[in-house]
């Protein structure tokens, strides 16, 4: 007898998250606010369990639900990133929310649901699955962006993200329906076959443009980036950390899968879009970040430009390019989580502080924190021997290999500009006079996240092969 549910082993990680989230809702609903700690811990455990399930899925390609859900090396790599990002976001949140009197059991559940959405996005192999995953993820994030709902900025962040996100989802849907209308199928392989067969024409490009616009919004690439600084600034810091890490990876995975999986034959068309978006993101992110005073806004622009760098790899459109994107995302995840751990650690007696000037003289009061923060910033700037250098190396290398010299050179120049504002923060931390007292001690979970990500960032050069080989295998599974 055939198994009742043959897809089960393929969707096991997703199943764990979905079922687990429902159980968590029940626990939360029955035990009320007392269950916050328990739900939080269980959510981390769930994500860990899903991670283990992902790790134990075989390396071969497997499909489920009539081919609309696919698990391959690429999916497994990106799912690991998404899961790590989510787990870290949960760890970063606990102490922060307790102190901010925002501790609610819904937060971990929403993060788990968003993670589920991301996993579905990453595995999506047709337009419907793509949209389902994307919306599940986005809806959860809209809510947690406004989690501090008595705070006007947080509410505004959530609302703004929702309104603009809904608009972008609309564009995505519109593009999807155009693609369906012109190719007659929603499955990526089917679309690829139709495109290769010459179906579509301009209508298809229309669809492609709208899909690209919708996805560009999700990774906050210029010119769909406007929401990023406001939402990053307004949302509670752990939520910002979450938004800056895992969903970015998931949306980028989606972008890669859509373009490489469904439109490989018209790379000339979408490469123009990606190149434009990449250049605009790198340059605008770099320049606009310089003038920022709020560290979270600065990180928002920084994330915009980093997405631009990652897109450089995608623009190459080769296996090496995708590998570059994957390595970039993996290392960016570590850098961004570490940086946000530092931002969350910026808390004085009077409460959380967020301006860059509050970092002045950090090296005197907290040398270890200052050192790690400095290393993370150097890494973000792309200075060796830190991980960020290798991330840039791979994407620029792939771009040059694909003969996109102009793109690579502009990327290098943008990173020169970008290095400037990271260095400014370091100068502030190390050389300026402190304005107020030391920060309060960090929570152990925050310490843990900072420690692990710093180790990855600082020591990546010693053993780069592990991540690189995994990314290489993942990239090859798409070609």
């Amino acid at each position: 007898m055939a198994p009742l549910f043959p897809a089960f082993s393929v969707v096991l990680p997703e199943f764990i998250l979905a079922a687990g989230a429902l159980v968590l809702v029940l626990i939360g609903a029955i035990r009320g606010e007392r269950s916050n700690g328990l739900v939080s811990a269980l959510a981390v455990a769930l994500i860990a369990a899903a991670g283990i399930a992902v790790a134990f899925q075989g390396g071969e390609r497997a499909e489920a639900f009539g081919g609309s859900f696919v698990v391959d090396n690429f999916a497994r790599f990106m799912k690991m990133l998404a899961l790590i990002g989510s787990a870290a976001a949960l760890l970063l949140a606990r102490d922060f929310f307790q102190r901010a009197k925002l501790d609610r059991f819904e937060y971990p559940i929403l993060v788990v649901l968003a993670t589920l959405g991301m996993m579905m996005m990453i595995s999506a192999n047709d337009l419907i699955a793509l949209y389902l995953g994307l919306e599940l993820q986005s809806l959860a994030i809209y809510v947690i962006a406004a989690f501090d709902r008595d705070n006007a900025r947080s509410s505004e962040a959530g609302l703004k993200y929702f309104v603009l996100g809904a608009l972008s989802s609309g564009m995505l849907l519109y593009g999807s329906s155009l693609v369906y209308g012109f190719t007659g199928t929603v499955a990526f392989p089917g679309i690829a076959a139709a495109v290769a067969g010459g179906h579509g024409g301009t209508g298809l490009i229309f669809g492609l443009v709208f899909i690209a616009a919708g996805l560009a919004f999700k990774i906050s690439a210029v010119p769909f980036h406007m929401w990023t600084p406001d939402v990053y600034e307004g949302a509670p810091s752990p939520v910002t950390a979450f938004m800056a890490s895992a969903p970015k990876a998931a949306a980028m995975a989606l972008l890669v899968r859509v373009f490489v999986g469904a439109f490989p034959d018209i790379i000339g068309q979408w490469r123009q879009i990606i190149v434009f978006v990449a250049i605009a993101s790198m340059v605008l992110g770099a320049f606009a970040a310089i003038g920022q005073r709020n560290i979270k806004r600065l990180m928002a622009y920084s994330s915009i430009s980093h997405m631009g760098y990652a897109l450089v790899g995608l623009a190459a459109g080769t296996a090496n390019g995708v590998q570059g994107v994957l390595i970039y995302l993996a290392l960016y995840l570590a850098m961004t989580l570490g940086t946000f751990a530092c931002i969350i650690a910026m808390r004085r007696e009077s409460g959380q502080v967020e301006t860059i000037d509050d970092l002045a003289g950090l090296s005197n009061s907290q040398p270890v924190l200052a050192f790690l923060f400095a290393m993370l910033l150097f890494s973000l700037a792309g200075i060796p021997p830190l991980a960020g250098f290798f991330a840039k190396l791979y994407v620029f290398g792939a771009a040059i290999e694909a003969k996109l010299y102009g793109l690579a050179v502009i990327g290098v120049l943008a990173s020169v500009v970008g290095a400037f504002y990271y260095l400014r923060i370091i100068k502030l931390m190390y050389f300026d006079e402190p304005k107020a007292g030391a920060y309060q001690p960090m929570a152990p979970e925050v310490r843990f996240v900072l420690g692990v990500s710093s180790v990855v960032v600082i020591l990546f050069w010693l053993a780069p092969a592990s991540i690189v080989a995994a990314a290489s295998a993942a990239a090859k599974s798409l070609f």
């Binding site: 008595d150 406007m226 310089i290 920022q292 150097f378 792309g382 021997p385 990327g411 290098v412």
Partner: protein
């Protein structure tokens, strides 16, 4: 040499290991630190010297480790003669600097930090020169920038040190990033990052189309590192570093990394006009500017810094000339400059240490106070000036010879000898000034400390270096000949050009130039002496051209003004412009494929045949619909109630369109959904202010214009969407599933209403899932609204609503009178009477659903409307006092019935949700289709009804809850007052 790979690895690793160990020593362990650092550099020096036989005659030693294998990147330590020569400098001078630093640093300075950074820098520099692939070179290149940053900022309590460090890092690290880009392109051209492959690539790089961008990027890296014009400004600022750091980094090692790189790539990149123009012109400019500015410095270290810049310019110029002989001269000058400049920096440090100031004007007559230091410094300075019998003279003469050689018939080339002589003159002048004003003349009287010669161990390093200067200067052949040959062979290969290392070459033009420079320099100095001793800072004319000032100004403009402006222009924090931007960009993006050829080719087939003759009434309907949509948009901000109702009109037009285009089922569903959503929206309106206060105010012209613009955007966007949608919909369907459904609906599902058959039969499982979700959603909405409270910051209730609330609260216990009585009495009565009619209608729609438009979903919505009308007419209290509405049970029953129908099929051994159908003749109703799907449909009906009503009730109860809360608050207040009494 046995196991060369191991030793090569030790060369790179040992300083880093030492650095880590050094970091853990106690703060005041100066001796231990110095011993450690000294041992490390001496060990490495010995290892390097032992490598000599392996690198002679252009041989290369390599050690390779896997690093990023799949990227073709291995960690390669590669030692050739050139790298060997640099290693000797790094470790030899490194050792002397460590020895010097032991006595230079005061006990108050934290020693671990200094020595740890110094060793790490040594390791990074070794990494640069031993790099066997290009990426590795960039990697260590940036490390040297980082550690130099830390070393310059060692005294970070000093504002100058902090600024200097930041400027140095910004400039050099940015240059390093450019270098990375250049290296990536070179790797692409050659096909490998391996240095040996690159060096063996011949003219491939030069003849490649990307030569110029590559060259520019590499040049950015090299010129920033070697402080060449226009990036020279960071070096003088870095003089705030402790003197051992300056002696090490800014004479012998770090600044040499730039010229090292140029020499490294010289064999494969120099054979082009661009190379000559870029590096020769930058070199000669730097040479002149540096020498000129050095003469006018009042700070001893500043003078040395500009002199370093000038000498690096000289080396860059030599490398830029592109001839092998110039290459020899460049390498030779690298060696010589390292020796005399390091010793001069150390001497300057001693003077600063002992006299307490570095201001050349305040110093004077120190020869008497510190004769040994003075003698050594004078010899070194003479070498810097190019006095015969010292090493500076020989390499400078080689330089002069090279400038005379013709390299190409250009203006620059023809004038080089004169420019070189001029620079040499300034060089002599500032050297003489250093000697004369510091060591001779009237003894300084106002020195902070009484100067005397320092301990012998501070003098030993200088002495050794000066001895080398002398030895090379007097006996160049035997002393440095082999060394130089080994180094140059590392670059040029085994075939060396013929050159002669001798002091005397006869009366050559170069000799004449040397003497002109010497005499001219002395004359220049003595002419300017009084002026120089005056109250001047920096060189005339060029003083204005302060790189630092320009840099900082550029930074301010870039980082604040422009960045802010960009942020202001592109980044708005307001939602409306963001939405507008997003829409506009999407529209532009949509235009892109059109412009990409569609307009020309007409591929987007908009000229489809109209499938129906356009009926005037249909057009009228659409005009009404569009009018409604516009009206709704217009009123959305000012009168939401009106907007919602007008929107209903637009929806109605859509419904009629559906019916018109023969989709009655769709029309019916749309109509009902329209009604329900409108009502729910109306109920939701209560939490928003009713209307804006300032509707009566005259709208300004600008606002009108803005609205017109938005209207335009909306019309263009909407029309565009409609056009594309139309184009898609009128395309022939590809392999659509709908034909299958149409064919099989009656034969297999027993219904003529295909939509309904699909819902309850073909895709019954989907429908089951959907109604489950619907039920959950309804219960969730209910649960959420029970706890709902508007956020504190959301809009405060408008005046009229507050008034109304107050009124209601006051009257809560009072008899129903006032506005409640007779309020909406006529429509209320009609609505009440409508209840059975609407209910009947629902049953009718339900029963006919299988064959004609209708069905459980539609019927459920219809029934819900019946309830909604009651709530609207009578209010929540009135309805609930008379009707027991149990929506949750409806939901439950619906779900159970639907599931049970499906399970029933299992009893008959059919798959889940298989349906059977039959017709039955019932009294009154007549012939009725009785499919098992009808029972399933009843489940759908029940659930839709329950869900809709549940949401409605949740909304309706909000009104009651507010009064209850107000009453409770009032009661509590009264209690409090009474208690107070």
């Amino acid at each position: 040499m046995p196991d060369a790979a191991l030793y090569l690895t030790i060369l790179i690793a040992l300083p880093f290991v030492g650095s880590v160990i050094a970091a853990f020593f106690p703060t005041n362990a100066r001796n231990a630190e110095a011993w450690l650092a000294g041992t490390v550099s001496l060990t490495n020096l010995v290892i390097t010297i032992m490598f000599l036989p392996s690198v002679r005659n252009a041989k290369v030693v390599r050690a390779e480790y896997e690093w990023l294998p799949d990227y073709g990147l291995n960690f390669i330590a590669r030692l050739d003669g050139f790298a060997w020569c640099f290693s000797i400098l790094i470790f030899g001078i490194g050792f002397l600097v460590v020895l010097y630093a032991r006595y230079y640093m005061s006990p108050a300075d934290p020693a671990p930090r200094f020595f740890s950074f110094l060793l790490a820098f040594m390791g990074a520099m070794t990494g640069v020169v031993l790099a066997g692939n290009l990426i590795q070179l960039v990697f260590f290149w940036e490390l040297t920038s980082l550690f130099s940053f830390l070393l310059i900022a060692y005294w970070h309590h000093n504002q100058n040190a902090r600024d200097g460090a930041r400027v140095a890092l910004t400039v050099t690290a940015a240059g390093g990033l450019c270098l990375l880009g250049g290296m990536l392109i070179i790797g692409h051209i050659v096909g490998s990052y391996d240095l040996d492959v690159v060096l063996a690539s011949g003219d491939r790089i030069v003849s490649h189309a990307l030569y110029l961008p590559t060259l520019l990027l590499v040049a950015m890296g090299a010129l920033t590192k070697s402080a060449q014009f226009p990036f020279q400004f960071w070096l003088p600022r870095a003089m705030a570093a402790p003197t051992p750091v300056s002696a090490y980094l800014h004479s012998a090692t770090m600044v040499k990394a730039g010229v090292f790189l140029l020499a490294r790539l010289w064999p494969v990149m120099s054979n082009h006009e661009y190379w000559f123009w870029i590096f020769a012109s930058v070199g000669v400019l730097t040479l002149l500017i540096g020498a000129f500015m050095a003469l006018f410095q009042q700070d001893l270290k500043g003078l040395l810094a500009y002199s370093t810049i000038s000498h690096l310019g000289l080396i860059t110029l030599l490398l830029g000339l592109g001839s092998p002989l110039a290459m020899v001269a460049a390498v030779f000058h690298i060696i010589n400059h390292a020796t005399f400049k390091a010793s001069l920096f150390m001497a300057a440090g001693i003077i600063d240490h002992e006299a307490g100031t570095r201001d050349v004007r305040r110093l004077g007559g120190l020869f008497r106070a510190m004769p040994i230091t003075a003698t050594l410094a004078m010899v070194a300075a003479a070498s810097m000036a190019g006095v015969p019998l010292l090493n500076g003279f020989i390499s400078k003469e080689m330089f002069f010879t090279e400038t005379i050689e013709s390299h190409g018939n250009s203006v620059l080339d023809n004038n080089l000898p004169y420019l070189a002589t001029l620079a040499g003159m300034f060089s002599v002048a500032y050297s003489v000034r250093l000697i004369d004003q510091v060591f001779f003349g009237p003894a300084a009287t106002d020195l902070p400390r009484k100067p005397h010669d320092p301990v012998i161990w501070m003098l030993v390093p200088i002495g050794l270096l000066v001895l080398i200067c002398l030895l090379i200067g007097i006996l160049p052949g035997p002393t440095v000949g082999g060394f130089l040959a080994t180094a140059v062979q590392g670059v040029l290969g085994p075939q060396l050009p013929s050159y002669s290392l001798a002091v005397w070459h006869g009366f050559t033009p170069a000799l004449i130039m040397s003497f002109v420079a010497l005499i001219g320099g002395v004359v220049t100095y003595f002419t300017l002496k009084t002026y120089l001793s005056g109250n001047i800072e920096g060189a005339p004319v060029l003083r204005r051209l302060k790189g630092k000032r320009i840099f900082e100004r550029a930074i301010v403009i870039l980082s604040w003004r422009w960045a802010r402006r960009i942020a202001d222009i592109v980044g708005t924090t307001r939602l409306q412009p963001q939405l507008r931007l997003l829409l506009l960009i999407a529209m532009l993006a949509a235009l892109w494929p059109l412009s990409a050829g569609a307009l020309a080719s007409g591929a987007l087939a908009l000229d489809v045949d109209w499938p129906f003759a356009v009926d005037p009434s249909f057009v009228l309907l659409w005009i009404v619909g569009c009018g409604c949509a516009l009206g709704a948009a217009y009123q959305a901000k000012y009168h939401r109630l009106a907007a919602v109702i007008i929107m209903g009109g637009a929806g109605l037009a859509t419904c009629i369109t559906f019916a018109w285009l023969s989709a009655p089922d769709l029309a019916l569903t749309q109509l009902l959904v329209e009604i329900v959503t409108t009502v729910l929206l109306l109920l939701g309106l209560r939490w928003l202010p009713q209307r804006l206060e300032d509707t009566g105010v005259r709208i300004s012209f600008g606002a009108r214009l803005r609205r017109l613009r938005d209207l335009g955007i909306a019309i263009v966007g909407g029309a565009g969407l409609a056009a594309i949608a139309y184009a898609v919909m009128t395309r022939p369907q590809i392999n659509s599933i709908s034909s299958t459904f149409l064919e099989r609906a009656y034969s297999e599902g027993g219904g003529r209403n295909v939509v309904n058959v699909i819902l309850v039969d073909f895709r019954g499982f989907d429908t089951l899932g959907e109604i489950t979700v619907l039920g959950i959603v309804a219960i969730t909405v209910f649960a959420l609204l029970r706890r709902f409270r508007p956020a504190r910051v959301s809009v405060e209730a408008p005046r009229q609503k507050r008034f109304q609330n107050q009124f209601d609260a006051d009257r809560y216990d009072a008899p129903k009178a006032g506005i409640a009585a007779h309020y909406m009495i006529v429509p209320g009565l009609i609505m009440r009477l409508l209840f059975p009619v609407v209910a009947m209608m629902a049953v009718f729609l339900f029963m006919r659903g299988h064959d004609a438009p209708g069905g459980g979903f539609v019927a459920g919505l219809t029934f819900a409307i019946a309830f909604i009308l009651q709530y609207m007419a009578g209010g929540a209290r009135w309805v609930e006092a008379r009707l027991r509405v149990l929506p949750v049970r409806w939901i439950g029953v619906g779900l159970l019935v639907a599931a049970a129908t499906g399970l029933a099929a299992l009893v008959f051994d059919r798959p889940f949700l298989t349906s059977a159908f039959q017709y039955a003749d019932l009294p009154v109703l007549g012939r009725v289709p009785l499919a098992s799907a009808l029972v399933f449909d009843f489940g759908v009906f029940s659930l839709v009804l329950g869900a809709t009503v549940l949401v409605l009730i949740a909304l309706a109860h909000q009104s009651i809850r507010i009064y209850r809360a107000m009453a409770a608050a009032k009661a509590a207040e009264t209690d409090a007052i009474e208690e107070a009494r």
